[in-house]
Amino acid sequence: MEESELKKIQYNCKKATFLIEKKQIGQISVREKLELQIHLAGCSVCRIFEQQSKIINRMVHDLFHEPKPNDDMKLDDKFKKELQHLIEEKLNKH
């Protein structure tokens, strides 16, 4: 990131949200951290974005790591039968 861009971040929500994302899953420099803090201190919209962004990460993670029984993620019986048939056929060939 160029120096001039860093100066602008105080007023730049696009850069701030970029850094919010980068900070969550990677690393940002000390300088970037400071700039982000200054931005967030003065920008309530980006503060909301940051809160929601963190929650979204957790919800997405939960979605597959602690899934609840979900009927629309099941294969239909007809397809399963065909698949079973196919596997048995292959097994018998060997």
Binding site: K14, F18, K22, I25, G26, I48, Q52, M59, L63, I87
Partner: protein
């Protein structure tokens, strides 16, 4: 998934008596799990079914090589995962060229003002109940979340799921999908901004 837990426990029980491979039981035991694993990552029912089938067939070919170092389900999931990555790669190689010509600033549906990077008023995030973690937000919210994820361009979805579901490293994702590190961060950012906006629009 309680069922999966059972599978894992079963597999662990097998481990004590020497791990075996029982392809006759695969469909019954693992088909739904593998399908769920695929559908959430590629959002195409037809393709997800094909992938489950391909996974079983590929596993059958290699069944002699199954040494029982991992459980059956772990082994099958690894095969499926490789197949999904192949699809991501194919999709992304077709998409990359187009995306490189349209840099973020030129994107028409950008959420930010081009000149100063402020949120466009219409896209400003608002509080809508997603500010604190609530694991009980429920099935309705999860369905919206899934639908919104499926609206992401396929390369973005690939990057997003590999990072947030599979918890792969940035380096691994960049090399598997052949995206540059800077493009990766742009995608991570844009995917989240889009996904958040979609959730706000559909949840309120």
């Amino acid at each position: 998934m309680a069922e999966l837990k059972m599978h894992i426990e079963n597999s662990q029980a097998e481990a004590n008596t020497g791990r075996t491979c029982a392809p006759q039981e695969w469909v019954n035991k693992y088909a739904d799990y593998l399908y769920g694993y695929a559908i959430i990552r590629i959002s195409d029912e037809e393709m997800a079914r094909d992938l489950v089938q391909d996974t079983f067939l590929a596993a059958l070919e290699k069944v002699e090589k199954f040494e029982g170092r991992s459980s059956e389900i772990t082994w099958l999931t690894a095969i499926l995962k490789n197949k999904i990555t192949d699809i991501y790669r194919k999709k992304s190689s077709g998409l990359l060229k187009r995306q490189e010509t349209s840099t973020e600033e030129q994107n028409p549906d950008d959420f930010f003002e081009v000149d100063d990077g402020h949120w466009k008023v219409a896209y400003q995030p608002q509080a809508f109940g997603l500010e604190t973690y609530n694991p009980l937000m429920g099935k309705e919210f999860n369905n919206i979340l899934k639908r919104c994820m499926q609206k992401l361009p396929s390369l973005w979805l690939a990057v997003f799921t590999m990072k947030h579901m599979d918890e792969e490293t940035t380096e691994a994702i960049c090399s598997k999908l052949k995206v540059t590190s800077s493009n990766y961060w742009v995608i991570i950012h844009r995917a989240k901004v889009s996904l958040r906006a979609c959730l706000q629009k559909n949840w309120i």
